[in-house]
């Protein structure tokens, strides 16, 4: 038992290394690589609000249109990094930046926020000159720099999350995308109707600031709200770091967190902790339960009917002195099981009963062939002569104990074969289940689904194998676990 516990504990580092290797192999595949937007394992230059703003500002200053678009997308998150540094630039470059920021001023509704003051109206007046816009931005920041602080935004977000009001939303609009990380964090865990109300208040603001479209149903249930919050968080995982100010430690971890592997880990942890609505694992679980009846019948055939048939055949043929009959029988069983599989591949039966019967037959034949191969190897003429001299009950016990001792060895081996047969049947009959979903993930190059499938099947076979080995070890020491 101690060995089994040691092996199960040893599985953790093996899985960690294994997940990295699997991630690397899958990530290198062209079909998957096309879908990836982040580096695989290491971000050489992690992005934060300050670096993204700095880069966009430098580009916009020289008139680079891509940088202008980036600066406009960064919006309020860039302002604390751009506006204080405007004075470092020549006037013409400052004018270009002020012109580039004009759509941001529209989005922030700065004119509406302080109607009647000449100070802000220039920012939203298209006829105002670039100099006026520049001057207005400088004055705007002098007035509002205290709003662009984490504590004050945190307070604004908290107020909006507890009760909705137009004024509170307008307060948040004044800091624009600067509030985005705080808003996403405030979505939190969604379990109760109160949590659903919070998501209903926060999610439209998040969607508007991040430029996504969002339609909420009239009556948002906690389950629906959880899905909405999870989707927003997942979108933010990939694009949110350019709106986020990073501390020293976060800058260090960003080398890993801003990669596909980091995002995968974060999303998995959130899903396992129940913060995010299950997506990949829910689909896998549905597929598994659809395949479960077929898998069960295949395992019944392989682990119950197969050993019983093999034992019965060997007892029945014990009086035959020539091993030729056994060999022919074994060959027949082997051929029977191998010829049944192409039929499954060619046209799997649509009805569940027929499919289960076909799998039961295939699994029983294959398992019987394997175990009779094992028994005929074990029982040479001397052993058979010894057994023949024994009373019937002891004879039965000898063969049964030999077969029982074989089951732990057989289990992890036959599990692979069972998956093979069920895969053939599901794919050929067009049934939904674990394997068609795997094919779909392969076709789409869905890295997260493939990794989840691989790791789950790895863990399940590893646990089965460890427990089987523990049974074998205890039977070797004489303590029969049965």
């Amino acid at each position: 038992m101690a060995e089994a516990i040691r092996r199960l504990l040893g599985l953790v580092p093996v899985l960690l290394v294994g997940s990295i290797v699997l991630f690397f192999l899958l990530g290198k595949h062209p079909k998957v690589a096309r879908e990836l937007s982040l580096p695989l394992f290491f971000a050489q230059e992690p992005i934060s609000a300050s670096t993204a703003a700095e880069r966009a500002m430098r580009g916009a200053a020289v008139g680079d249109s891509a940088a202008v678009r980036e600066l406009q997308a960064l919006g309020g998150a860039a302002l604390p990094h751009v506006l204080p540094r405007l004075s470092e630039l020549p006037v013409t470059q400052r004018r270009r930046i002020a012109a580039a920021l004009e759509p941001v001023a529209h989005r922030m509704q700065i004119g509406g926020y302080r109607t009647g003051t000449s100070l802000d109206s220039a920012l939203t007046d298209p006829s105002s000159s670039a100099d006026q816009q520049l001057l207005s931005w400088e004055r705007y920041y002098e007035d509002h720099d205290l709003d662009f602080r984490p504590l004050s935004v945190e307070r604004l977000v908290k107020r909006l999350s507890t009760r909705r009001s137009g004024m509170r939303e307008a307060d948040l609009l004044a800091v624009d995308t600067y509030a985005l990380p705080h808003l996403v964090r405030a979505l939190g865990r969604v379990d109760s109707p109160e949590d659903a109300d919070r998501v209903r208040r926060l999610s439209p603001v998040i969607a508007r600031l991040s430029g996504h479209s969002l339609r909420l149903p009239g009556d948002l249930s906690p389950a629906q709200a959880r899905v909405v919050a999870s989707d927003l968080r997942r979108q933010f995982d990939r694009t949110g770091f350019k709106f986020t100010n990073l501390g020293r430690f976060e800058e260090l971890t960003a080398h890993v967190m801003q990669t596909e592997f980091g995002v995968w880990w974060v999303q998995n942890v959130r899903e396992i902790r129940g913060i995010d609505a299950p997506r990949v694992y829910a689909a896998l679980s549905r597929g598994f339960w659809q395949s479960a009846p077929l898998l069960t019948w295949a395992f019944v055939g392989a682990l119950l009917l197969g050993p019983l048939t093999a034992g019965f055949l060997h007892l029945a043929l014990l009086r035959r002195r020539s091993p030729r009959v056994l060999r022919r029988l074994r060959l027949g069983l082997g051929l029977g099981s191998t010829l049944l599989i192409p039929l499954l591949c060619l046209r799997g039966p649509g009805s569940t009963v027929l499919a289960a019967a076909a799998l039961l037959l295939t699994a029983t034949l294959a398992s019987t062939a394997l175990l009779s191969g094992y028994l005929s190897g074990k029982l040479d003429w001397r052993s058979r002569a010894t057994l023949r001299r024994r009373p019937r009950t002891r004879r039965l016990m000898s063969v049964a104990s030999a077969l029982l001792l074989t089951l732990p060895t057989l289990l992890p081996v036959i599990a692979g074969e069972v998956f093979l047969w069920v895969a053939c049947l599901e794919l050929s009959s067009g049934r939904d289940g674990l394997f068609p979903r795997t094919m779909l993930a392969l076709e789409r190059g869905d890295l997260h689904a493939l990794l989840a499938m691989s790791l789950l099947s790895w863990i399940s076979i590893a646990i089965v194998q460890t427990l089987s080995d523990a049974l074998i070890a205890s039977s070797e020491q004489g303590a029969h676990p049965w």
């Binding site: 051929l335 094992y374 190897g377 074989t406 992890p412 093979l420 590893a462």
Partner: protein, 186 residues
């Protein structure tokens, strides 16, 4: 079709050779060496992962090996694990005969006895190779090599050479060397 049948035959032959050549040795090592035991365990755990089909095009592109060789190597690794597991676990005791129903695998007669289980566990090799070929087409660019790829593309005539190949490999795997068979009867 002929090229596909040849490709699958090469892959199956490679898988059988690898499984039959390495499996028993690895199985015997794993009874004494921790690293070999770990390797057998790892191979048994990894053999049915969907990731394996991702390896086919990646390995074929990186190593320059033909697809049938890559499929054969992966199928062979899987069969090596199965045979090694039988060799290491099916005979835990050093005794033989009906008392414990065990035998020493180091002895040629013992090895012959184990051929039954290990040989039978190789029977699925053709279909494992075909499944690898077929599934790899979903993860590739739609083209594939081998009878499995033909089946995946809906050309059901490919099942005839596949059945012939499976039957031939079953008969081949069932045969034991006459020398060992004679010694086992003595």
């Amino acid at each position: 079709m002929v090229a596909d049948a040849l490709s699958t035959t090469v892959a199956v032959a490679l898988a059988i050779a690898l499984g039959w050549g390495l499996g028993p040795t690895l199985g015997r090592w794993s009874t004494h060496h921790r690293l070999a035991r770990f390797l057998v365990g790892l191979l048994t755990e990894l053999r049915m992962l969907p990731i394996l089909v991702a390896l086919v095009p990646v390995l074929a592109a990186r190593s320059g090996l033909p697809t049938c060789a890559v499929v054969g190597l992966i199928g062979g690794a899987s069969r090596t694990a199965v045979v090694a597991r039988w060799m290491s676990h099916a005979e835990p005791h050093g005794q033989s005969g009906a008392e414990s129903l065990g035998s020493a695998p180091r002895h040629p007669v013992g090895r012959f006895r184990l051929r039954g289980a290990a040989g039978a566990s190789m029977l699925e090799v053709t279909f494992e190779v075909a499944l690898l070929e077929g599934v790899a087409t979903f993860f590739g660019d739609g083209r594939g090599a081998g009878l499995g790829a033909e089946l995946a593309q809906g050309r059901f005539a490919a099942v005839i050479p596949l059945v012939a190949l499976a039957a031939a490999s079953t008969v081949l795997l069932d045969r034991s060397p006459a020398r060992l068979r004679r010694r086992a009867q003595v």
